[in-house]
């Protein structure tokens, strides 16, 4: 943040998109920082990348700039920065994406032969997988003598990959936890257990896993007795 620099330009839009250029317009910032705005810089970024490049070498005076040198068929977003003698503003909010193509191609409905853009290769750092955290808010949502249904929420710090779950049960009063679905982790945050011994009381807990490993278990549930009577916990607030 440079003291005395202008505010960020507003309302960046792209007009009259074409296969070789797009006209970008904007509104001047609400504050000029105390000295007149000398001009603007327009930046563009191809959708799907994070690389911003500056389109004009010298600041443009008017709040309108034709951006050229676009690759046909690719989509772009734009942002604008204002400059005065104190320095550069923060970039504006990013425009809506626009594809560099002729209006006729944009609206053409009929079939078209395939077109492939240039392949872009990027190197990525192999990231060590992160073991997911604990599932949250585990509760018994249904309990009968035949089955018990558990429900929970995924961990807040879920990694990029799909998280799956292992359910564990423990006879109340003991500390011996036993995994219920030993073979296949479940994908949805919900699980029904059958084959519980009638009259016995159980606690349950759930662990997350992904390709990096199995995480810490959730807080265990209260003890739930398997019996004739429906043992549904009362709704919250009652």
């Amino acid at each position: 943040e440079v003291a005395g620099a202008p505010g960020a330009p507003l309302d960046v839009q792209s007009l009259d998109a074409n296969k070789d250029y797009v006209i970008v317009t904007w509104k001047q910032p609400a504050v000029d920082g105390g000295s007149p705005i000398l001009g603007y810089f327009v930046d563009r970024c191809e959708v799907g990348t994070t690389h911003w490049s500056q389109c004009n070498d010298t600041p443009v005076k008017f709040a309108r700039f034709p951006v050229t040198g676009l690759v046909e068929g690719r989509s772009y977003v734009f942002r604008v920065r204002a400059v005065n003698k104190a320095g550069m503003s923060h970039p504006s909010r990013v425009s809506e994406p626009v594809a560099a193509m002729d209006p006729a191609d944009r609206t053409r409905k009929g079939p078209s032969a395939p077109w492939t853009g240039q392949i872009i290769v990027t190197e990525e750092e192999p990231v060590e997988g992160v073991v997911p955290g604990r599932p949250r808010d585990l509760s018994v949502i249904e309990a009968t003598k035949n089955y018990v249904v558990l429900s929970w929420k995924p961990p807040g710090d879920k990694g990029h990959e799909g998280v799956m779950y292992y359910v564990e049960k423990c006879v109340s009063g003991t500390d011996s936890w036993q995994r219920v679905n030993t073979e296949i982790p479940v994908k949805s945050p919900r699980f029904a257990l059958f084959d519980l011994a009638e009259g016995k009381s159980y606690r349950f807990r759930v662990r997350c896993c992904n390709s990096a490993g199995v995480g810490e278990p959730s807080e265990p549930t209260e003890a739930t007795t398997v019996g004739d009577k429906l043992d549904i916990p009362s709704a919250p607030g009652r």
């Binding site: 799907g48 078209s112 032969a113 077109w115 492939t116 392949i119 290769v121 190197e123």
Partner: protein, 101 residues
């Protein structure tokens, strides 16, 4: 097969042990069928070769933990009822930096 000028294929280099991500934007109606090839052979998806369409609609090939033998000409070939086309890039995998003790 469309004509392919190999010498004009863009060259990219990645470091051994890193992932290489190839992204290709494809248009066409009906939606073209996409095949990734390396040195003329179809790439079979597997543990080290992921093939998917990413969130922005780019057809993507990811080669995990690149080895020297992944060096070669990679092609994204698209075809539908109206025709076929392709884009190619040349990948080289360079050895990791030598560490002196």
């Amino acid at each position: 097969e469309p004509h392919l000028n190999v010498s004009k294929a863009k060259k990219f280099t990645v470091t051994e042990g890193k992932h290489a991500k190839f992204r290709c934007y494809v248009t066409g109606k009906p939606k073209p069928e996409i095949v990734w090839k390396k040195d003329g052979e179809n790439i079979v998806p597997g543990r080290r070769f992921l093939i998917f369409e990413d969130r922005e609609g780019y057809y993507t090939l990811k080669v995990m933990y690149c080895k020297q033998q992944d060096t070669g000409l990679y092609i994204c070939a698209a075809s539908n009822a109206l025709g076929n086309t392709l884009s190619a890039v040349q990948l080289s995998v360079k050895g990791p930096p030598v560490r002196f003790k």
